[in-house]
C-alpha cells in the first residue's frame, strides 16, 4: 500500500484567470474521489480515474492527504481563485464526505472557490454552510458551482451526451445556488457526438446566449476523444471528428459575453484540430483571449488564411446528419 505521505491529487497546477475584468492567479486541483455517481456521459473518460472498491480503505485519510499535499506545496498567498474538480460532484455526499468538504472550505478561506458538481447536489443549506466557511467578505461571490450543463437543448443533452439531467434541473440548481449566495459557472460542450459541425456550432452558440442569463461564468469546452468512451468507439470507426478550431473561434465570436476557453488536446487528432498548419497560431490566440477577453483577437483569427478554411466552410455547409463526419 502506498503510504499516505505519497498520496497526491490527480493533478494540480497554478495559472491565471480572467475574472471580472482582471487577471488573477488561480490554483486548479483535480481530486481523486470515489468518482462520479452518474458515470454515463458518452464523452467522459475521467470516470476511470477514481478509487476502486479495494482502494477505499482509508478513503477519507487519502482525501485529507491530497488536500495536505496541496496546502504544503502551494502557499496560500500564491493564488486568489481555487478551482476544485473531481470529474464528478464535490457536493455529492456519496462521492465526497461532508466532513472533508468543510476541511476544503476552511483551507481555502478568503478565495474565490469554484467547485464542480452536478445540479442535483446543489442545496441551499449545504452551500450556505460551505460559503460561511470560506467567506471573508473579500469577494462579492465567494463560491461558484461549476455545472457541466453542456447544452441548453434537452434533446441533445439526453441523446448525444446521456447527461441525465434536464434544463429544469439546472434552473432549480441555479435558483438554490443563488439563494445561498453562490454563483453558477456553466460548462458548454462544443460538438458532442452525433452532431454535424454546423449543428454543434449552432448548439453551442445558442447555449451560450441562453445560459448567459443564468450563469455568471461560462466555459466553452471543445470535445476531445478520451480513452474507453463511447466517443472513442465512434471516432475509431469514422463516426466522430472533434470540432475544428475554426468552430471554436466561430462560437466564441458569436458570444456577447466573455467565455473562458482552454481547449484540451488542441491541435491533436483526439482534440479540436484543423489541418495542422494553422493550429498553433489559433491555439495561442485562444489562450491569449482567455486572459484578456479581447474579442477582436478572435475575430482577427477568423480572418487568417489557411487551406483548411475552405474545407471547414464546406463542411459547415454540406455536412448532414446522414453523412458525417466528412473529414477526420
Amino acid at each position: 500500500m502506498v503510504s499516505l505521505e505519497e498520496v497526491r491529487p490527480l493533478a494540480c497546477w497554478t495559472g491565471t484567470d480572467y475574472y471580472q475584468g482582471e487577471n488573477i492567479p488561480s490554483l486548479t486541483i483535480i481530486l481523486k474521489t470515489r468518482g462520479c455517481n452518474w458515470n454515463r456521459c458518452l464523452m467522459c473518460g475521467y470516470r476511470f480515474e477514481r478509487y476502486s472498491a479495494d482502494e477505499l480503505l482509508d478513503f477519507e485519510a487519502k482525501l485529507n492527504a491530497q488536500l495536505n499535499w496541496v496546502i504544503n506545496n502551494y502557499p496560500s498567498s500564491s493564488y486568489s481563485m481555487v478551482k476544485i474538480y473531481s470529474s464528478g460532484s464535490l457536493f455529492d455526499p456519496k462521492e465526497v464526505p461532508s466532513s472533508f468538504l468543510s476541511r476544503i472550505a476552511s483551507a481555502f478561506r478568503g478565495k474565490v472557490v469554484v467547485v464542480e458538481t452536478r445540479p442535483e447536489f446543489i442545496e441551499e443549506n449545504k452551500l450556505e454552510t460551505f460559503i460561511s466557511d470560506i467567506d471573508t467578505g473579500a469577494w462579492e461571490t465567494p463560491l461558484y458551482c461549476a455545472i457541466g450543463l453542456e447544452t441548453t437543448n434537452d434533446n441533445i443533452r439526453d441523446k448525444c451526451i446521456d447527461k441525465g439531467f434536464s434544463m429544469s434541473d439546472f434552473f432549480c440548481a441555479a435558483e438554490e445556488a443563488r439563494k445561498a449566495g453562490a454563483g453558477v459557472k456553466a460548462y458548454v460542450l462544443l460538438k458532442p457526438p452525433y452532431l454535424t459541425e454546423n449543428e454543434s456550432i449552432e448548439d453551442s452558440a445558442n447555449t451560450i446566449r441562453e445560459v448567459a442569463k443564468i450563469a455568471e461564468l461560462i466555459s466553452l469546452n471543445p470535445c476531445t476523444v478520451q480513452k474507453n468512451t463511447n466517443v472513442e468507439f465512434l471516432w475509431k470507426r469514422g463516426g466522430y471528428r472533434p470540432p475544428y478550431l475554426w468552430s471554436v473561434l466561430e462560437v466564441i465570436s458569436r458570444a456577447d459575453i466573455f467565455v473562458t476557453c482552454d481547449p484540451v488536446g488542441a491541435g491533436k487528432v483526439r482534440g479540436p484540430h484543423n489541418c495542422g498548419k494553422c493550429d498553433t497560431s489559433i491555439i495561442d490566440g485562444i489562450r491569449d483571449y482567455n486572459l484578456n477577453g479581447d474579442l477582436s483577437l478572435i475575430e482577427a483569427l477568423l480572418e487568417i488564411e489557411c487551406d483548411c478554411k475552405d474545407e471547414w466552410e464546406f463542411i459547415c455547409m454540406k455536412e448532414r446528419s446522414y453523412c458525417m463526419p466528412l473529414t477526420h
Partner: protein, 544 residues
C-alpha cells in the same frame, strides 16, 4: 407516376432511368440530392452511425423521401422507393463491416428499390459502390475534394502540391475550375460503369479498377466469399465474353457454379474411357483447329473432357454453355498454385464419383501437373501421353494407338445440357438434331422438343420439351393471357432456383408460356416492376 425503371442488372448492380421533375436521367447517377429531394433538409439532429441504433426512434418518425435503410434497422417493405443508407462513407474504414452491412441492407430491402449512398462517390471508388448495389450518389464527396484543392482522377486523388498540367483537358480544366473537373471526372466514371453494366461485364471492370486499393480488392474478395448471398444475383447465362484475367476470376460465382454443376448435376454417359484433353483459345473448343484434329484422332472412342482454367473439367457436351464457350484467359501454360488446388480438387471429386475403366491424359504443363496430382490420391490410374510440341502434335499417333480397339460412341449434347441446365436426366432415344451447329433443333417423331440458343448454349424447350422436364423452373402467374412479356407484378410464385438467363415455363390458369427469366425466381416474386420473363411462345388454355 413511377420514379424509376430498372432496365439492366449485373450482379447486385442496377441500371435504368430515373424520372425527376419530368426529366429523365440514366442511373447510376450523381445528383444534387438536396435540390431534387428537399425533404432531405428535414434530417436534422438525426445522426445514426452504421454501428448503432441509439437514435433510431428519431429516424423512423420521419416519413420523408428518400426513406432510410439501415443495417441495424427494420426491413423496408415499400417498393419503388429511393432509400438513403446513412453514413455509408464510414463503411470504407473496415471491409468486413462493409460486407456485413451490405448483406444486411440487401436482405432488408425489396429488389426494386434504389439505394442512395450520401457523400461517398469519387471517380476512384464509384465502380465498387455500384458493384455493391448503390445507384444514386451526390456531389458532396467530389466537391469536398475540390474544397480541399484535391484533383480527382480515375485511379487516385492528386494532392494540391502536384502539378496538374497535362493530366486532363476537360471543360473544367480548360476554364480553371477544379470543382467542374472533379464533377466531370465522376460523371465520366459513372458513364463508364453504366456502360459495363449494360455490357454485362461490370465484374471484369471492377476486377481491373480495384487494383489500386487494397480496400476495394478486399471488398470484392469478401463478397466472393459469401456465395449463398451473391449467387442468386448472378445470371446463369450471358452472351458476352467472360474475361478471366485475374486470380480473383477463379472465385467468380459463374466459375464456381459451373464447376459445381459439373460435379452435382452432370452425369457422364456410359463410356469406358475418359480422355482428358487441353482447351483451345477458340470457343467452343470444337471449332478450333486443334480440337478438330483431336476429334479426327479420337473418333468417339472415349469421353472427351477438356481440362481448363478457370473452369476445371468441361465435358465435351457442355462446351457451348456459358461460360465454357465465353471465357478468355491469358494462356501461358503456367498454372498458379491456387488454380492447381481448386481445379485439382474438382478433378479428384469428379473421378471419385464417376467410374471409368481407363483415363487417358493427353495434356501438358499446368493442366497435366494438376491432373497427375489429383490422380495420385485416386485408385484409378491415369495413362499419360505427353504432348511435346503442341503445334506438331507429334504424339497424336500415340493417342490413336492408345485408343486402338475401343468402342465408338456418340456424344449426346442434349442429354448433357439437360442435366446441366435443368438437373434432369431425359431419355434421348430417337432424338434427331436438325440444322447446323450451334443452332440445332431437337425433334422426336417429327415433334420439336428443343432448340439450342446459339449465344448461351442453353436449350430452349418447346411446350412438348417442357413435358420432359416436369415440375422444374416453373413461374406461376395470375390468371391472364400474357400479351408480350411477363412483368414482375403478375408473378405469384417461382421456382427459387431460377436465375436470370434461365429458360422457364410460365403457368397460369388461362395460359402457359415459354420464355427466358430476366431476374431470379425470388426477385420476380418480390418485385413490383420490371420484366420477369421474356416470353417466347404463349398457349391459351381453353376453358372447359
Amino acid at each position: 407516376m413511377r420514379l424509376f425503371e430498372i432496365k439492366n442488372r449485373d450482379g447486385l448492380a442496377l441500371a435504368g432511368h430515373l424520372t425527376l421533375d419530368g426529366v429523365q436521367t440514366a442511373f447510376p447517377v450523381a445528383l444534387d440530392m438536396n435540390e431534387k429531394f428537399p425533404d432531405l433538409m428535414h434530417y436534422h439532429h438525426d445522426n445514426l452511425s452504421l454501428f448503432q441504433e441509439k437514435m433510431q426512434e428519431n429516424w423512423s418518425d420521419l416519413q420523408i423521401n428518400p426513406g432510410m435503410l439501415h443495417p441495424g434497422g427494420k426491413p423496408v417493405t415499400r417498393h419503388g422507393d429511393i432509400l438513403l443508407v446513412p453514413n455509408w462513407h464510414t463503411a470504407f474504414i473496415n471491409p468486413r463491416n462493409y460486407i456485413e452491412w451490405l448483406v444486411s441492407i440487401r436482405l432488408k430491402s425489396p429488389p426494386d428499390t434504389l439505394w442512395y449512398a450520401p457523400a461517398c462517390a469519387l471517380p476512384s471508388n464509384v465502380h465498387l459502390l455500384v458493384y455493391s448495389g448503390f445507384s444514386i450518389f451526390d456531389w458532396t464527396s467530389v466537391d469536398l475534394k475540390s474544397a480541399q484543392g484535391i484533383f480527382c482522377l480515375q485511379g487516385c486523388e492528386l494532392p494540391k502540391v502536384v502539378e496538374r498540367e497535362g493530366f486532363c483537358s476537360c471543360e473544367g480544366c480548360r476554364s480553371g475550375s477544379l470543382l467542374l473537373h472533379n464533377r466531370l471526372a465522376l460523371l465520366s466514371e459513372l458513364n463508364t460503369v453504366r456502360y459495363y453494366i449494360y455490357k454485362q461485364q461490370l465484374r471484369e471492370y471492377v476486377e481491373s479498377r480495384s487494383r489500386l486499393s487494397a480496400f476495394q480488392v478486399t471488398v470484392m474478395r469478401l463478397l466472393d466469399q459469401c456465395p449463398v448471398f451473391l449467387e442468386p444475383f448472378i445470371p446463369v447465362t450471358r452472351s458476352v465474353q467472360m474475361l478471366a484475367t485475374t486470380e480473383d476470376s477463379l472465385q467468380r460465382v459463374e466459375v464456381k457454379r459451373f464447376m459445381h454443376r459439373v460435379l452435382s448435376r452432370y452425369i457422364p454417359p456410359r463410356n469406358d474411357v475418359a480422355i482428358l484433353i487441353p482447351c483451345s483459345a477458340r470457343k467452343p473448343y470444337s471449332t478450333s483447329k486443334s480440337h478438330r484434329r483431336l476429334k479426327h484422332i479420337i473418333r468417339g472412342r472415349g469421353h472427351e473432357l477438356i481440362i481448363t482454367s478457370p473452369l476445371g473439367i468441361v465435358p465435351r457436351e457442355l462446351e457451348r454453355i456459358y461460360p465454357a464457350a465465353h471465357y478468355d484467359v491469358p494462356v501461358t501454360g503456367y498454372w498458379s498454385q491456387e488454380e492447381k488446388k481448386i481445379i485439382g480438387a474438382q478433378i479428384h471429386e469428379y473421378f471419385k464419383n464417376n467410374q471409368y475403366r481407363r483415363v487417358i491424359a493427353y495434356l501438358e504443363g499446368g493442366a497435366l501437373e494438376t491432373v497427375t496430382a489429383a490422380f495420385s490420391a485416386l485408385e484409378v490410374d491415369c495413362e499419360i501421353i505427353t504432348r511435346d510440341d503442341p503445334k506438331k502434335d507429334s504424339m497424336s499417333g500415340e493417342l490413336d494407338d492408345a485408343l486402338y480397339g475401343e468402342k465408338r460412341k456418340r456424344s449426346d449434347i442434349v442429354r448433357g445440357t439437360c442435366l446441366y441446365q435443368f438437373d434432369t436426366s431425359i431419355n434421348t432415344e430417337n432424338f434427331i438434331l436438325k440444322g447446323y451447329s450451334p443452332e440445332e433443333r431437337v425433334f422426336r417423331n417429327k415433334m420439336q422438343l428443343f432448340s439450342f440458343d446459339a449465344h448461351t448454349g442453353y436449350l430452349r424447350p418447346t411446350f412438348q420439351g417442357w413435358d420432359l422436364i416436369k415440375d422444374k423452373y416453373n413461374v406461376c402467374i395470375d390468371p391472364f393471357i400474357p400479351q408480350g412479356d411477363i412483368l414482375a407484378p403478375g408473378v405469384v410464385g417461382a421456382d427459387p432456383q431460377i436465375r436470370e438467363g434461365d429458360e422457364v415455363i410460365v403457368r397460369g390458369k388461362q395460359a402457359i408460356a415459354t420464355g427466358r427469366a430476366l431476374m431470379s425466381g425470388d426477385c420476380m416474386v418480390e418485385s413490383t416492376q420490371g420484366v420477369a420473363v421474356k416470353v417466347r411462345k404463349v398457349m391459351r388454355i381453353e376453358p372447359q
